[in-house]
C-alpha cells in the first residue's frame, strides 16, 4: 500500500474539520472492507485515512427514538442481522445484512460504509429504500437528513458534500406492519457481489414497494399503487403485468463481467416474485 497518515479523531467536530480541510485528500475509514482493497490496489491514494470508529456520534448501536429506529453509522452487518426488531419489522434488511460476504466481512462491514461506498450492488440498499430509510449526515454546516433515495447518485458517488460524513441511518417504525424480504442472485454460493438484488415490502392494506440494485448506475425504488403485489389472491398474470410496469425502465450495464443484461432482467422478475412470496408469508405470520 502507498503510505498515508492515520488519524483517529475522538470528536465529530475534529473529524468534520479534518475532512473539510483535506477534501479528497482525506478518506473516511469505517470497517475498511471496501476501503482497504482500494488503498491496496492504488485506485485511491489519500494523504490521510480518518478512522471514525471512535467518534461517539457514529458509535455502533440500534435504538428506538421518537417513532424511528436509529442505526449508528458504524453498526456492523453482524449486529444488524441478529437484531430482533430489525428481523421482525425490517426483515429485508436483516436478510440483506446476513448475505454480505462472510462472517469475517460481516464482523467489520458497517451499514454506513455499505451506503457511502455507493456500489449499485450494495446489498442493504434495496431493503433500506423499501423501508423509507433516511441518512443522517453531519458536516461543516451542521446536521441534515437525506432520504436514501436522494443519497445515491451513481456508482461510488453520493450527495454527501465536502466535509460531511454519515452519523446514522434511521427507519420509520411503521404504524401498519410492512413485511419485507430481500433476494439476490450471485454467480456462486458464498460470498460474491450480487448480480441482481431485490427487496419487496407489502403491508396489510395491499400497498407494496420494491427496490432493486446492480441493474443501472444506482439502486432504485418503485411503488405499486394498484395494490396488486400485496394482494395474495392476485393471479400470476396480474403480478407479472405489474412487475413489467415497475421494472420496465431497468437498464443493466452491457459491459459488466458479472452477468449479461438479458439475464439480469429475467432474474429481476424471478427475484421479485420470490421476495414477494416471502414477504406475503411473513405478513401472514404477523
Amino acid at each position: 500500500m502507498q503510505p498515508f497518515a492515520y488519524s483517529r479523531p475522538g470528536t465529530l467536530a475534529e473529524a468534520v474539520a479534518l475532512l473539510e480541510e483535506r477534501g479528497p485528500g482525506a478518506r473516511v475509514l469505517a470497517g475498511g472492507t471496501d476501503l482497504l482493497i482500494r488503498l491496496r490496489d492504488g485506485s485511491l491514494d489519500p494523504e490521510v485515512v480518518v478512522d471514525v470508529k471512535r467518534v461517539p456520534e457514529l458509535a455502533p448501536g440500534i435504538r428506538a427514538d421518537d417513532g424511528r429506529l436509529v442505526i449508528g453509522a458504524t453498526t456492523t452487518m453482524t449486529e444488524i442481522a441478529a437484531h430482533p426488531v430489525i428481523r421482525h419489522e425490517f426483515a429485508a434488511l436483516a436478510d440483506a445484512a446476513a448475505y454480505v460476504g462472510s462472517v469475517q466481512i460481516r464482523n467489520r462491514a458497517t451499514l454506513a460504509g455499505n451506503l457511502c461506498n455507493a456500489s449499485p450492488a450494495a446489498d442493504t440498499a434495496p431493503a433500506l429504500l423499501v423501508h423509507g430509510a433516511v441518512v443522517v449526515a453531519a458536516g461543516p454546516e451542521g446536521t441534515r437528513r437525506i432520504p436514501l433515495d436522494a443519497f445515491f447518485v451513481r456508482s461510488g458517488v453520493t450527495t454527501l458534500a465536502r466535509g460531511e460524513l454519515v452519523t446514522a441511518v434511521d427507519l420509520p417504525l411503521p404504524s401498519t406492519r410492512l413485511a419485507s424480504a430481500h433476494e439476490r442472485r450471485t454467480r456462486r454460493r458464498g460470498h460474491d457481489l450480487a448480480a441482481v438484488t431485490m427487496a419487496v415490502g407489502v403491508d396489510a392494506r395491499g400497498a407494496a414497494r420494491l427496490a432493486f440494485g446492480s441493474v443501472g448506475p444506482r439502486p432504485v425504488v418503485r411503488v405499486d399503487d394498484t395494490a396488486t403485489l400485496g394482494d395474495r389472491s392476485a393471479t400470476d398474470a396480474d403480478v407479472d403485468a405489474i412487475l413489467d410496469r415497475l421494472l420496465g425502465d431497468a437498464a443493466p450495464s452491457r459491459t459488466s463481467m458479472r452477468a449479461s443484461p438479458g439475464y439480469r432482467l429475467a432474474m429481476l422478475r424471478v427475484l421479485a416474485r420470490r421476495a414477494r412470496a416471502t414477504a406475503l408469508g411473513r405478513l401472514a405470520d404477523g
Partner: protein, 169 residues
C-alpha cells in the same frame, strides 16, 4: 513518510506495545513486527480467510484491518490456541485426528474462524458450521474433514470462551 503509530494491545493474553506503519495492516504487523507468522498472507482482498484472527472475540480478516485500528483491542491468533502448558487444544487435536490438514496453509485461518464460531455459538447446527467457515477457502479441499473436526469439537468439548482481557479503551 507518515509517522509511525504507537499502539498498545492485548495479544494472545499478553499486553504488547508496538510501533506500526499507518499503512500497514494487522496482518503485516503480526507477521513483521510481532513475529507471529501463523496468520497467512494470501489473497489480501478478504476472499480466502487465510489471515483470519480474532479481534475482541470476533473473527476478522487481518488483511483488511489496519494495524493502527487495533489499539486497545484484544487480538488472538492461532499461536494463542494451544494451552500454555504445551500440547494442543481440542479443536487443534480434532483437526489432526480427522486429517483436516494437508498443505496446512489455510489451517491457522480455519482454526480461528472455527474457534470464534464455537465461542459465539457453542452448539452450532450443521448450516451454522458451514456459514461460520464460509469465509475460509482450502486449496487442498479438506472441507469435509474440517467440517467434521469442528462438529466433533462442538459435540465433545467445552470450548472455553476466554473473556477479552480488559481492553485499554
Amino acid at each position: 513518510m507518515a509517522e509511525r503509530v504507537a499502539i498498545e494491545l492485548v495479544l494472545n493474553g499478553a499486553r504488547r506495545r508496538v510501533e506500526v506503519e499507518p499503512h500497514h495492516t494487522l496482518l503485516d504487523a503480526l507477521r513483521d513486527d510481532l513475529a507471529l507468522t501463523g496468520a497467512k498472507s494470501c489473497c489480501l482482498v478478504g476472499e480466502c480467510g487465510a489471515c483470519t484472527v480474532m479481534v475482541d472475540g470476533r473473527a476478522v480478516d487481518s488483511c483488511l484491518v489496519l494495524a493502527a485500528e487495533v489499539a486497545g483491542a484484544d487480538v488472538r491468533t492461532v499461536e494463542g490456541l494451544a494451552p500454555a502448558g504445551g500440547g494442543l487444544s481440542t479443536l487443534q487435536a480434532k483437526f489432526l485426528e480427522h486429517g483436516a490438514v494437508q498443505c496446512g496453509y489455510c489451517i491457522p485461518g480455519q482454526l480461528m474462524a472455527a474457534q470464534a464460531l464455537l465461542e459465539t455459538t457453542p452448539q452450532p447446527s450443521d448450516p451454522e458450521i458451514e456459514e461460520g467457515l464460509a469465509g475460509n477457502l482450502c486449496r487442498c479441499a479438506c472441507y469435509e474433514q474440517i467440517f467434521d473436526a469442528v462438529r466433533e469439537t462442538a459435540a465433545t468439548a467445552v470450548v472455553e470462551p476466554r473473556a477479552p482481557a480488559a481492553a485499554a479503551r
